[in-house]
Symmetry: C2
Subunit: 266 residues, 2 copies
């Protein structure tokens, strides 16, 4: 490397240290996960390639968690109920998939000829209970993990034990949204990070207290990671987000679910 | 700088070039904007401090756009209508602020003793028509810009002309959301970037076509920028997001508004 290239490298490094606040990058070449795989151990092995730092946030697409935890349903083994058959006919969809959606739900929130929006047993409101066909071989569908917080905590603990790094974990899924077109990545499971950042009581530039600003920090981070999950090659389920200020917490992603009685859109 | 520091700098630079996909950093020390200020020129002058690159995305908090465009209302000059007086009484809020909210709205979407959710004249659905008290001196409130896309396009053109860089602009605001607790930054004005990224037709790992995935790319980017807007010192309204793959487009942020008849939550 020539001397001027070296100076330029040092200049760029200094510049980037001075100005880069947050960086987002994928854990490349992550292996395909199969049902029953020891996911936390596999993640730890892959993270050894990276220069992981304390307070990094690791965002994990729920699909690999669900697969490792056997939340894969072979449609050949599913017998739809009369109700699932009726919805399947109305929506022109596989009634066996509808049956899995209903089994994974606690409540139907909206339903018409096109959409089936449910509350999952965790309380998350999303289309089709988060059941998805893609990224799974054969006549199978994949659901959300049973307890995404618990999955996240387990991965966090194994990283802490084996790599001696104190990181936060967000397990994410891509949901549609009321009112706005297009999907965005959301947090559905957490470990070691507060879901909400309460900036009430902070003063603005003119000394007023900001009244009602509770920021959904983990949804912001999940959305940010979603950019890289989406634009990287297929099979990039793990994204590292570095440089985010956050509060360490044991709270659940369920803190993000608006209480039904306080939700004017429910 | 010692030789080993130099090698480390070069190593770190190479490492960061290899792995950092997206970086997010603020335009620091941005001056306070006053009504009537030539915002695009001020932004260009401040951006000269930065190593701006083609395809950078510049996310701008709507407040500085609204202020420059005189969308600041002195409550002393506002006479509330009988309806605004009634809502103000019911919600224990300043009826003059309610009056501004109603004037900036095209439709009331939800209203009870606590919340007033409207469609703005642009069609965005948010609390209080996006009217905010904070960051404005005296008895004043600030609204959304009249045409955020047009504001974004003007800033983009001035940057192109004076700095010869081809960037995208997102004007953003922080909204609450149906179903989930906490606010997140959303895109309300766009220039030079497609609001939605359509990945239908892409195949997943097993060769299935992904069925219904239209990603709200600009909302992901606005949310990501919101992390830095929120965690930086007060008065950090401009964030640069680098490394996002996006389609250049003249489409409006209004493409993100779900058609009322297709919105099961409206």
């Amino acid at each position: 490397m020539k001397s001027d290239e070296r100076s330029e490298a040092i200049f760029l490094l200094n510049w980037s240290q001075a100005t880069v606040n947050i960086s987002i990058f994928p854990l490349r070449d992550f292996p395909l996960i199969n049902p029953g795989d020891p996911l936390a151990d596999i993640i730890v092995d892959e993270l050894r390639k990276m220069d992981l730092k304390d307070r990094d946030i690791i965002v994990i697409a729920h699909t690999i968690v669900s697969k490792a935890e056997n939340k894969v349903f072979d449609l050949e083994t599913i017998t739809p109920s009369p109700f699932a058959l009726e919805i399947g006919k109305r929506q022109e969809k596989d009634p066996r998939k509808i049956e899995v959606i209903l089994r994974e739900s606690s409540e139907i929130i909206r339903m018409n000829d096109n959409v089936l929006i449910t509350a999952t047993h965790h309380g998350f409101i999303c289309a089709n209970s988060g059941i998805d066909k893609s990224n799974t071989p054969g006549e199978t569908v994949i659901s959300l993990p049973d307890d995404p917080d618990s999955s996240a905590r387990q991965i966090r603990e194994v990283i802490k034990k084996k790599l001696e790094k104190d990181v936060a974990i967000i397990i994410s899924d891509t949901f549609g949204r009321p009112l706005r077109v297009g999907t965005v990545n959301f947090a559905i499971g957490l470990a070691g990070i507060a879901p909400l950042e309460d900036i009430r009581g902070k003063k603005d530039l003119f000394g007023y207290e900001l009244k009602s600003t509770i920021i959904a920090r983990v949804d912001e981070v999940a959305a940010a990671a979603g950019i890289v999950m989406g634009q990287a090659d297929e099979g990039t389920p793990i994204i590292i987000v570095r440089g985010v200020e956050y509060s360490i917490s044991n709270e659940s992603a369920r803190e993000l679910i608006r209480e039904p009685t306080k939700d004017v859109f429910r």
